[in-house]
Structures are given as structure tokens and as C-alpha cells.
Point group: C2
Chain length 304, copies 2
């Protein structure tokens, strides 16, 4: 079953204690797509400027990602610059240049409209809504967002959330969105906004999932030689939804649990190299092996 | 197999967003002992002042804890006051009055000296060392500490660590002790200081364990109606070592994994009520049921 992703394709300038990279292929849709295509066909919707390097376009194409929905507009590609702190748990945004994203409106090619699994990656909620209005009765819709949209476009975000099955956010965003002080009560509260599954992404602390039936949680896989945390969350989403797409778009609790393990595995490869390098190098069999490592990380015998 | 604990018995004044309590029974040894005695006999070494309430002494005795090693000295009992922030992840210490702890030297009654499983709870490393010198070839020695001792008594701490099997600490302490910026590399480094097992306590994010053979990690059990996080770490240690004592003091990797699940379960009861109330109310069968809940929290199918 195919995946549709709308989000950003960007050129990232990243500094971490492990190194530095300028104008590297990045953006939420890139990370998601490169992760997801390990599981299922991926069709991408985004915009780049006329300055977008042919090499980066070729890299996405070589991964097998359908770029028919990638517009090229006059102007410059979205650029983001960030510097990570010594422990890599925090980062400062050095610059954000929206470029062609400022006037972007997603237009789905005809063959995109029947795609059953949709990720609305982190962009303006109105653009996420425009995509939802162009797809026909998708089986599974997931959404990611950021503090900025909760802050300045809350009504639009709540509106689009009403049509979403699975919602990705982090601890701070969950508290900000609900006005609560406890992330557990916040995640439960958010179920009443529409999503059936709330996935709280906790970085080095893994993921916490709330559904109507209860909690599920996994720690992050320990990556001792962490290089660059950029894209960890987007590739986590790509692994998770990719797995669900490969299972026919199921999102019952059992499928979600295994999907979170796949997201965890995929993200561990992302952060072990700079930019998308850790993802493009890995094939599905290595991801599956890492899923077994995640299983081994947390297993214990209840009875002895 | 019996447990020996040396640490503090204190009167705590606690404020959390859920309530307030003055002069409640607390201290690392109290929490550890009340947790551990659910699994095995516990023998306590500590000091209180002449003002220590008879009711608190009776509560420890009623739990079946051996208080032959609890000295009563002229002066006042150790008092600690703390106020938790809105999210309960952080707290401010309002006061620390050492009282009789200032002149304390542990003296083990004769029948304590052969106890095979020992927890050196958070006190001055020199006092931890004095206890180690009084026990005869224990099977398993665990140690807990705090940032203060890493800061002002580092050589003494490293000295006592050399004779320890299992070391409890948190993320910040691991970085502080090693001078490293990554908790994973820090935990591995600490294995070279003596301990065979490093248990990084991460509060609401669970626990991360490093042994010679690799990593083990569990998230915390989600407690939606969190009341008071005080004693979570000490009771986690009590559940973990209590379980190991009940298994003959084994600390192979498989036993450690199940022990961490028991620590996780016990701590979840502690934080659901004020002070030690959540612990004294719970029996072993409810803890075992919670261990199964922890198992269910993290389980997933690798193959579908």
C-alpha cells in the first residue's frame, strides 16, 4: 500500500559536536520519504526553488521516491540552519529561510489522489488541510506539527486534527496544545481532539503512545556514536507509517506497537550519520535486524 | 536471602502540585527498606534523633524491618524539605538539616555482618566505606550517591565504587562523574571504575542499564495521577535488590532485567501517593501484577 507525504524538502546547514555540514538535503518530507520507501512506494508533495541541486533530486529519485508532486518554483529552496548543544539533546535554530515555501500550495497529481496512507508532515496546518481535501477517503492519515503552529494557528491546527487518525508530537507540544502540565493526561486529552493514536516523540527517551485502549512505550535504541539528531522524528514517522502501509494500512494496537519498534529502529540509523546519509545506506533487512535488537533491548522474563 | 541497607531515615516536608505534607517519614533507607521487605528480610542501619516519632518507628517495625541497627542519638532527626515544580520533573530543596547525621558512624550489630546483599544508599562515601568494612564477603553490593558527593568527595566515592557490583545514578551524575557529554559513553566508562552493572535512573523516562554484555532499558510505568515523586529512586532500588535477594543474590543479565521491571513496578506505587503511603499499602501480589503491566507496556511482535 502506497504512502503520500507532504512536507518540506530543504537544504540544511547543521553543526553538531561531531561535525558540520552545509546545504545538505533535508526537510521533513525528505527524511520521511527516504525512511518510508524502505517499506512501500512513496509519493512526495513539496516545493523547491530553481537552485535545488540536481544531485539532491537525483538522490531522492534513486531511492525510488515518486517526485511528480515536487514543484519547482521561482526563488530559493527552503533553508534551515541549526547548531546542537554538547549533549545533542538541545539545539539552536540559526536561521530559517522559507524561500519558495512562502507561496506554496500543494497540488496533487491525479495518481496521488487515491493513495491510502498519508503523512501531513510539519508545515502550516492550512496546507495540511489542502492536501486532505485533495485525497479521496484515505485509510490512514497521520500528522506532525511544531510549537510555532500551536502558537500562531491553533484553530487551523485543531480543525485539521479532527480529520487525522494518528498524531505525532513531543512532550512540550502536548503540554502547549492542551494547557496541561502532565504529558500523560495531555496525551489522553488529545484523543478527544480527533486522533485515535497519539505518539509522543521523546528523542533520546524513545516514544510514548496513547490509544483508546491504553499505553505503549519504548525507549530509544542506544546509539553510542551519535552524529546528528536531525530528522530523527521524521524518519521515525517514516518507519512507523511505512510499516503500517506494508500491512495494508492497519492501525490496530498490535500493528501500532510493531510500527513504533520500526520507527525506533529507523531513527537509530538516521542519527548515526550526518543528514540523510545514515538512512540511504541502510536496507530493509538491516532495519528488521535492528527491530530485533530493539526487542532484545527491552525484553525481560516476568516469571523465573 | 537478606538485605542490609545503610542510608538516611528522615522527616520530610514535601510540597507538590497535588498536596503538602510536613514531617513525614522519609529518607533513602526508609523507602528502600519498605520496598525491599516485600521481597526479603531487611536489616536497616541509620541514625535518628531523640525527637523521632514513635509512630514512625512503629511503622517501620510493623513492616517487618529489623531496626537493631537504627541508632538513636542526642539531637534532632535529619530533616529535608522540598517543593516540586508544576510538572513534578524538577524540585527545589527548601532546607536540609543534617541533625544527628552530622556525627553518624554506622555500627553493624553482630547479626548484620553476614548479610549477603547490601545497599549503600545515598550518604557520605566514607560512611558507605565503613559499612563495607564491617560486612563479611557480601554476595552483591549496590551503591547510590548524589551530585554533592561527586562534587566534594570524588576520591572517596571512587574508592568505595571499586568494591561495588551495582551502581545507581542519574543522567547528570553520570556526566558529572565522568566528565563526558553523552550518558551512553558515560555509563560504559563507569564500568571501568569497578561496578559490573550501571543503572541510570531517568525518572519519568525509566531506566537504562549497562553491563559488560550490553544495554537494557525500560520506560517508566505511566502513573497518570502522580502525587509525590519523592523516594521513587530509592524504592526502585529496593524493588530491584529485593527481587535479586529473593533469587539468591544473582546478578546475571537475565536476573537484572527482571529486577529492573520490579524496581519500575515498585516505584510506580511510590509516586501514586504521598511519602511512603503508596508503598506500605501494596503487597507482593500487586507488585507482581504491576510487573506484568510493565511487560505489557513494552511488548511488541517482531514478526507479523
Amino acid at each position: 500500500m502506497s504512502l503520500l507525504v507532504v512536507g518540506s524538502v530543504a537544504l540544511d546547514s547543521i553543526e553538531t559536536p561531531a561535525g558540520k555540514r552545509d546545504n545538505a538535503l533535508g526537510g521533513s518530507a525528505s527524511y520521511f520519504a527516504i525512511a518510508g520507501v524502505r517499506y512501500a512506494p512513496v509519493h512526495l508533495v513539496a516545493v523547491v526553488g530553481e537552485d535545488f541541486p540536481q544531485l539532491d533530486r537525483a538522490q531522492l529519485q534513486d531511492q525510488g521516491i515518486d517526485l511528480d508532486g515536487l514543484q519547482t518554483a521561482p526563488g530559493t529552496t527552503f533553508r534551515w540552519g541549526g547548531r546542537y548543544h554538547e549533549n545533542m539533546n538541545q539545539r539552536d535554530t540559526l536561521f530559517t529561510e522559507l524561500g519558495v515555501f512562502e507561496a506554496f500550495h500543494p497540488e496533487l497529481p491525479a495518481h496521488y489522489r487515491q493513495i491510502p496512507v498519508v503523512l501531513l508532515a510539519n508545515i502550516h496546518p492550512n496546507l495540511q488541510k489542502e492536501v486532505l481535501e485533495q485525497v479521496r477517503s484515505p485509510k490512514l492519515v497521520a500528522l506532525d506539527t511544531m510549537n510555532l503552529w500551536i502558537d500562531i494557528t491553533r484553530p487551523a491546527l485543531l480543525d485539521v486534527l479532527g480529520g487525522v487518525d494518528l498524531f505525532f508530537l513531543n512532550d512540550e507540544e502536548a503540554l502547549q496544545l492542551t494547557g496541561l502540565s502532565n504529558v500523560l493526561t495531555a496525551a489522553k486529552e488529545i484523543l478527544s481532539y480527533g486522533p485515535k493514536i497519539v505518539v509522543v516523540k521523546r528523542g533520546e527517551h524513545g516514544a510514548l503512545v496513547r490509544t483508546a485502549h491504553g499505553w505503549f512505550s519504548l525507549p530509544a535504541f542506544p546509539v553510542e556514536d551519535l552524529q546528528d539528531p536531525t530528522g530523527a522524528g521524521d524518519s521515525f514517522a517514516g518507519g512507523m507509517l511505512g510499516y503500517l502501509a506494508s500491512k495494508g494500512g492497519a492501525y490496530d494496537d498490535e500493528s501500532i506497537r510493531t510500527a513504533v519498534a520500526h520507527g525506533t529502529a529507523v531513527a537509530s540509523f538516521t542519527v548515526s550519520r550526518f543528514g540523510v546519509d545514515g538512512l540511504v545506506d541502510v536496507d530493509r533487512s538491516r532495519i528488521d535486524a535492528r527491530v530485533r535488537d530493539v526487542w532484545d533491548l527491552t525484553r525481560f522474563n516476568v516469571e523465573e
